[in-house]
């Protein structure tokens, strides 16, 4: 059985309190974000059912939302997820080459995860950083003005911090 810690449950209470009485369904998107963070970086059916019971929703209400939005992962992902923007403005600044390069460096194609479970490569549609292209999302932040050298550094950095945390 999965369950939020006491501290996270308090956070859920605070999220629900942002909305008028009886409108706790509004808390669904933020609570799903929290659940994804807490329970392994993706939303398993068990996680979604838990969120439904927390907010007093039907499970279908959670499934239909989880499947609509691109930030919710419906299958496991690597520890580090690289989401590289591939929309027009990034193309003008060479995003195609960057996507190809990351794929070669990690030995995977977009949509795949490395066998060691460290990296997932994804392509993304416009992330609102067109002036700082090419770019990608990694966790809560953006990595902008990407070059091959910068990509190498980011990958090394991830490997280092994963080694320390293990």
């Amino acid at each position: 059985m999965i369950k939020f810690s006491e501290e996270k449950l308090k956070q859920v209470e605070k999220i629900i309190a942002r909305y008028p009485e009886g409108k706790q369904k509004s808390a669904l998107l933020p609570v799903l974000h929290l659940a994804q963070q807490e329970f392994g970086g993706w939303l398993s059916p068990e996680t979604m059912d838990y969120v439904a019971s927390l907010l007093g929703l039907l499970t279908i209400e959670v499934y239909e939302v989880a499947t609509f939005y691109s930030m919710y992962n419906l299958k496991p992902v690597g520890k580090y997820v690289f989401e590289v923007c591939q929309t027009g403005p990034c193309i003008t600044r060479g995003s195609d080459d960057i996507i190809k390069y990351i794929g070669e460096r990690l030995g995977i194609k977009p949509g795949e995860t490395t066998p060691d479970g460290l990296f997932t490569l994804k392509t993304a549609e416009c992330l609102g950083a067109c002036g700082y292209a090419p770019m990608m999302q990694m966790g809560k932040g953006f990595k902008e003005h990407l070059t091959k050298e910068k990509v190498d550094e980011i990958i090394e950095e991830c490997r280092r911090s994963a080694a320390i945390n293990n």
Partner: protein
Amino acid sequence: MGRKLLLDKVGIVGIRSYDVYRENGGYSSVEKVLKTMSPDDVTNEVKKSGLRGRGGAGFPTGMKWGFLAKPEGVPRYLVCNADESEPGTFKDRYLMEHIPHLLIEGLIVSSYAVGSNRTYIYIRGEFGWIVDILEQAIAEAKNNGWLGKNILGSGFDCEIYVHPGAGAYICGEETALLESLEGKRGNPRIKPPFPAVKGLYGCPTVVNNVETLSTVVPIINMGGDEYAKYGTGKSTGTKLISACGNINKPGVYEIEMNISVEEFIYNDEYCGGIANGKRLKACVPGGSSVPVLPANLLLKTAKGETRMMTYESLSDGGFLTGSMLGSGGFIVYDEDQCIVRNTYSFSRFYRHESCGQCSPCREGTFWMEKILWNLEHGKGKMKDIDLLWSVQGNIEGNTICPLGDAAAWPVAAAIRHFRDEFEWHVTHPEEAQRRNYGLAGYAEPLKAGV
């Protein structure tokens, strides 16, 4: 130097923090409205300013506030649209990252005008770190008495909450946004009823863009009439333009709406010219949804007049020879860019972002992407170009929300202005894989610099 009203203080060290913001005159508009003005006075100043919505449609803000239904005993809501997902657009993010208190100040004043005691900022989920910046600014404002109950003893209560989305361009459309804020899929609603009558939780609601609501601050500080002296004609004031693509200085610029497109592209104060000494081929001046213009039509209208960075001038000539100011997402293409490839990428974007409710959009975006992929990859036939034209025409105007139009317009404009390049992809399938079509006959040779 052009005059600035939003980003004038961005250079001040520490302006992101409450103390520095306050020392530099921050929150004076809240004092002014709560102590000396009625909600209707505030709306009137905004009407006088001529402010038009900065989210893309350019609808007059004061008029929108005036439409708000005010039934007795029913709460009203103000919702700030910070979904910012239109390709080419990254201005709201800049404002929120660099001077978050300006938005919070604008939200308090605007909440007072429309009578919202619970105001939401709907921000795209990918901007996770900006959620933290905004929540900190809100906490600081609250600790200093600008939010909460009975603000400055005025009897007005207001709370602001940040609500993150989860990755869906469609949630920038105001009714999809409201659905999403209610915890549902982002499926746009049929209008009418408009949000002004039935919005969030079925209550009267105003949805405005981040930049629009921030602009309310200088309007209140200087007065609507004074604000209206900035800019030209019905394009009053200043506008944030996010410039990207093949220019020397990509970034966010606040312009007064009285400069020419040529000045914006070539002047060092703004884009600083085309990068790597290349020549200008084309430009999408207002975010991916608006028509692309070849260089010659971009700098001068079909009538031969200088094209200005204003709502009117950019749309001069309609969709035949003009475009739109839209959201201010200014995407510049140099001579090495392939129009077919870029159009394909936009179609892929809209296919990915279509919510799937309306068949013309769901199926049409799918087919446009497929046809454009074929053309781009040397597998297209001449009749595909006509098919593409027909598909886009069948989407436009046939959907619940304007995402369908937004998907159709860029395709229509690309074929209209760059048909040669599409045909070249069909007649030279192998060459098209190796090199780009280049400038060909589209652009006049341009002088570099103004």
